[in-house]
């Protein structure tokens, strides 16, 4: 303890806005009168307790932070600058022992729990930590700007944004974000393409701040990054391609409710903070840490709005439905992310089919159009099944496996219709396959995910990247979220 104010003797930390402190106001006054050197340190009002001279003003909360005060009031004894004893809240026996005043608090109840210290309040704690220690342990270099400069504009000028404003990554915000994970700031999550730069947890937190994430999103974001960096996800290619694709994030499990993700109305759209910012953070990390920027390594001919963000949760409200994560090997009760290389959504409308067979044929008519109706066995696809369309399958007892298999079979077509030049269209498969029955997809290339609002016989297709010349060349990746 370096504070000369309290090298030896007793001090009490208190605040006026605390019922327990008000209860013991007279006791604090009495100790102040009877024990020379007793100091009262007030967090919110240097006039509290009233009629006591020399109350130490700790409205900055620096002393409270330095002494790790958690409860109001806290009575501490120091000896030669070291803390030797502490009593939190009101504890009559403790106060009598520490002050040596044997009848203090005689008219009060023996014990009363205290209130929380202002220095531990969310938002304040991080500021104090940044002021006292964060400046030294955050590793990312500082980028300075003038007092009167708008930090949002600084981020634009430096090329750190996706075109939308970002939240400036200040020390306070980064430290608060790092509270969202148990991982150390200098842990390396992986090497981020295209530049294969080391991506530390701290850099993830900085970009998460910029994207607008809350600290509790960090486990989802970290899992998404790990999934994106699996070699079979081919993140470099997803970024560099002239096609429309970007990482799409689908979240399953208990964490969906914990962080308030949307799997219902407008699940693929705007308006939910977690959906919007987790996906955005991943793309910002590719841009800022990996150095992947449009017109440089990102060569997308047209791009897609889903390159800003496309992240949503699966609707797991029906126990009869096997969630995507479980279908991909994650144990029930665990949370997971599944990353898919794609874009979208593309609309699907069928308001008249009433049997699973009819609806499957109907979906097939739209699914075969992915990329081009005559291109086959390259793209994967996600079918986002709305509640009303799902109801038709559910009533008939169809589960995930049966739906995915039926969609695969219904998208097999005669090769003669698909060869280059057929119907006067140059695009198509080689003429040598004219005699085959040709599937649109590889057998494991369709994933069905449930989401959407209760009303509307609409579903959505998220077309995948047209780069899978073999079914193992690129794959979606599922990772368990370590909460």
């Amino acid at each position: 303890m370096s504070d000369p104010l309290i090298r030896d003797g007793l001090v009490v930390f208190a605040k006026r806005a605390c019922e327990t402190c008000l209860l013991v106001e007279n006791e604090m006054r009495r100790v102040s009168r009877e024990l020379p050197g007793f100091r009262i340190i007030s967090q919110d009002d240097p006039q509290f307790p009233s009629d006591v001279a020399d109350v130490v003003d700790d409205r900055s909360l620096d002393l409270s932070w330095l002494h790790r005060i958690e409860i109001m009031p806290t009575l501490i004894r120091f000896k030669a600058g070291e803390e030797v004893e502490r009593v939190e809240g009101w504890d009559r026996a403790g106060w009598q022992r520490m002050t040596g005043i044997t009848d203090i608090g005689g008219g009060l109840p023996p014990q009363r729990p205290g209130c929380g210290s202002m220095s531990t309040q969310p938002g304040i704690y991080e500021k104090l930590e940044a002021r006292h220690s964060g400046k030294t342990w955050l590793a990312a270099r500082k980028v300075e700007f003038g007092e009167h400069t708008d930090p949002v504009e600084v981020c634009y000028e430096r090329g750190w944004t996706d075109g939308l404003p970002v939240t400036p990554p200040t020390d306070e915000r980064i430290i608060a974000m790092l509270k969202g994970t148990m991982r150390k700031p200098d842990d390396i999550v992986g090497r981020m393409p295209p530049n294969l730069a080391d991506c530390t947890v701290e850099k993830v937190a900085i970009n998460a701040v910029m994207a607008g994430c809350k600290p509790e999103y960090m486990p989802v974001l970290l899992a998404a990054i790990e999934a994106a960096l699996e070699p079979v996800f081919t993140l470099h290619g997803v970024l560099a391609t002239t096609y429309f694709s970007a990482p799409i994030i689908i979240v399953n499990g208990p964490i969906v409710k914990l962080i308030g993700m949307n799997s219902g109305i407008n699940a693929l759209g705007q308006g939910n903070r977690a959906n919007a910012t987790i996906g955005r953070a991943l793309n910002l990390i590719v841009r800022n840490v990996g150095g992947g920027r449009p017109g440089e390594v990102d060569r997308s001919t047209l791009g897609a709005p889903s390159k800003f963000t496309l992240c949503f949760a699966e609707d797991e409200s029906d126990p009869a439905w096997q969630p995507l994560a479980q279908a991909r090997g994650i144990a029930p009760g665990k949370s997971a992310v599944t990353l898919f290389q794609g874009h979208g959504p593309e609309a699907f409308v069928d308001q008249k089919s009433r049997t699973p067979e009819a609806l499957t044929k109907s979906f097939a008519m739209s699914l075969v159009k992915i990329g081009h109706p005559k291109l086959v066995q390259s793209a994967r696809a996600v079918l986002v099944l709305s509640p009303e369309h799902y109801g038709i399958y559910r009533e008939a007892g169809w589960d995930r496996v049966r739906i995915e298999r039926a969609l695969y079979e219904e998208t097999i077509r005669p090769g003669a219709e698909l060869v280059a030049g057929a119907d006067g269209v140059g695009e198509g498969i080689p003429a040598s396959r004219a005699g085959e029955q040709v599937p649109k997809f590889h057998e494991d290339a369709l994933m069905v995910v449930r989401a959407g609002g209760a009303a509307g016989l609409f579903s959505a297709i998220l077309p995948g990247w047209l780069a899978g010349r073999s079914r193992t060349e690129l794959q979606p990746v599922t990772k368990e979220i370590n909460e």
Partner: protein
Amino acid sequence: MSTMKWMRDPTAETESVMRARRAPPKSLEGLTVGLFDIGKTRSDEFLNRIEQRMGELGINTKRFGKPTNAKVASKEIVDKVVREADVVLIGLSD
């Protein structure tokens, strides 16, 4: 009194924290060199001499300036320099 604030760098820190300057041209041939007078005492003497020497070498020059060194150049003046010159030499005088 102006103080500096800071943010943390979200990038891999492979580039200088300062914004990169444009590479200087390999030759001044065919380019227009802007000679910019910031408005400080005797900067014109320096720029007059430069203008004369560049003229002797066949280099195109064009004079620009702002009324006073006490104020930053207005956007109109900066835009005019960007439009009309390829490189700029600023006379700081004293």
